[in-house]
Symmetry: C2
Subunit: 363 residues, 2 copies
């Protein structure tokens, strides 16, 4: 039988959610986080308001962070360096920022090390990092929450363009997946900008608007009806530096005769997508996990057993298996917790027929 002790890798919403439930059930948790703080990417990027309700991110994050703070065996600014199987248990070597190593023995592991944002410099024709006043949605969260949304002139932007699908749905950068939440985040940011700068013009350039499920009217409709955000279906080929630190968008309007678009803005926001990132790749490697075709970690069975990995005793939660909302990551943390709890308390592990796994890889 595995030991009644679980290693959780990653202290973002998914990992902290799993931690919270395991602690509630009296399971000993070892928490490893590479950053110096709890809360994961939402904390790192200083998320402002959450879609679709435009509520403060802290309302959702703070109770999770509190659960993380209650963990006694916590390794911050540390990574899992080695994992050795020892019967039903894992002997885990943890390395901190000074290179000092620690050993922990656990019965199960929950990998919840999350995603990283696409680096927009890889889409060089968009000029991120070169042309002034071009930002990522991941930059804008902090600028909104710290009340410093200004152009290089030091004034609030009066003409803002948001470009969706930067690094997503784009074979030219090797990403054929959709990052799932950028539409919602972008529309939320558009409404926040209009709320603060009511006379600003905000345009969203898109291929498809994916405010799926119950988000549709709370974001897509509300942005148009209540905030007069403009939506332009178009393909953008490049950005140019305009006079007076403006940014000129060049592309075509795919709804109107493929008419050429050459439009100046004060500020451009790139909705950069999600990728697995080096952190989670290292976690996957050290745990001996498999990858699916977009580079995320492949579950045992993505339909039926989405929180089980292909390795016995290792569970998955959150964006390590693909783009997720915070809410979905919390739910997956709870699901991973119950499966890990069943494993360490009763030895229950379920295999999917290998045939299924093989089919999944084929496509």
């Amino acid at each position: 039988m595995p030991a009644n002790r679980v290693l959780v890798i990653g202290a973002g919403p998914a990992g902290l959610s799993a931690t919270k439930e395991l602690q509630a059930l009296g399971v000993d948790v070892v928490l490893v986080e590479r950053e110096s703080y709890l809360g994961g990417t939402p904390k790192k990027l200083k998320y402002s308001l959450l879609f679709p309700e435009l509520r403060p991110a802290s309302e959702v994050l703070d109770p999770l962070i509190k659960a993380g703070e209650a963990v006694k065996t916590r390794y911050m600014e540390s990574i899992v360096d080695k994992v050795q199987q020892e019967g039903d248990n894992f002997v885990v070597t943890i390395k901190d920022k000074n290179g000092k190593t620690y050993t922990e023995k656990v019965g199960a592991i929950i990998a919840a090390s999350g995603f990283e944002h696409f680096d927009s410099r890889r889409k060089y024709e968009y000029g991120y990092g070169i042309i002034p006043n071009i930002y990522n949605i991941s930059d804008i969260e902090g600028m909104l929450s710290e009340n410093r949304l200004v152009t290089t002139k030091g004034t609030p932007p009066k003409r803002v363009a948001i470009l969706l699908c930067v690094g997503s749905r784009d074979a030219t950068v090797g990403n054929t997946h959709c990052s799932r939440v950028c539409c919602a985040v972008s529309i939320k940011q558009a409404m926040e900008i209009k709320e603060r700068i009511p006379d600003a013009v905000v345009h969203i350039y898109y291929m498809d608007i994916r405010t799926y499920g119950l988000m549709e009217d709370k974001l897509y409709w509300k942005a148009q009806l209540n905030y007069r955000v403009g939506f332009i279906r178009g393909r953008i080929s490049e950005f140019m530096r305009g006079p007076n630190d403006t940014v000129v968008i060049k592309g075509e309007d795919t709804m109107n005769l493929n008419r050429a678009l050459v439009v100046p803005y004060d500020m451009v926001i790139l909705a950069n997508g999600m990728e697995l990132g080096l952190g989670s790749k290292q976690v996957a490697k050290v745990l001996g996990l498999e990858f699916e075709e977009h580079g995320f970690v492949r579950p045992m069975d993505p339909d039926r057993l989405p929180v089980l990995s292909t390795r016995k005793g290792v569970f998955l939660a959150g964006a390590i298996t693909g783009p997720k909302t915070i809410s979905d990551s919390i739910t997956e943390g709870q699901a991973a917790a119950i499966k890990a709890y069943e494993y360490v308390s009763k030895g229950i592990w379920e295999e999917a027929p290998r045939k299924v796994a093989a089919e999944v890889v084929k496509h």
Copy 2:
């Protein structure tokens, strides 16, 4: 302390998933299902292949159904008629199809009674039920799995149109939400049709294609590249009966000068969306739950506590709180199971600040 016994209402993917986990942890489950079989809507409508992998639905459903069959206290063709609070417990009256009633005492309840498909007759201008050769996606699953996809002439259709967003994103029928899975189901059906009838022309009429996350290339791209499915961005105003039992679509192509579309097909498929349905409304009423603005059941906190209801001891899983994939329903079943387990084994119940709940309603 509540009794170590949980009532699960609904034997679809979410309810059976919760059942499976609770049984694994030794919790006594009482299962109530209004139909005569286990498996929920996927079983009722005879789902053929599942998106995005085009794998047989039985691979995912059968292990869940097996868990349902293992429940000793099972009420089939029955509904929950009354729920009375008795200290920390619920005394539940269950009524079967003959009107006979039974009483069960439980410590917690998981409401997983699911959705119902939009009745396309409410969108009368589409002619469903009046014009021959017009079907719902929910009809097509059974026709595909039983190999009887033919027109009224008894021959396989050679020209097929699939219309997205029927009863979704449509204020004229009172539904402002997106049903989340119809894009994926429709594209999956288009590929299945092309697989069986390679010389068929299949067109999908859409507003936005919402193959979010890792489904993008497996469905939207693959359908175009490998199966030559045509995608037409357009608004369809009505269907007319054409000569020889054809159906003529009338509308406008919103990508090309709003050019008028008048196109004949052998078969038209309406991607009818998801609603709560009378079954779940009755469940919500008998449990004293609240509804959110689209008519689904409102969780305690949709972001942070999505599987807790607003009533202590009552948990939620699957499409009762909004449109869900099968995989998401399974995960929510697991999440609801751990929260119900914590509640019946340790009395743990978490309240969200009411302020949050009030804000959620406002929008």
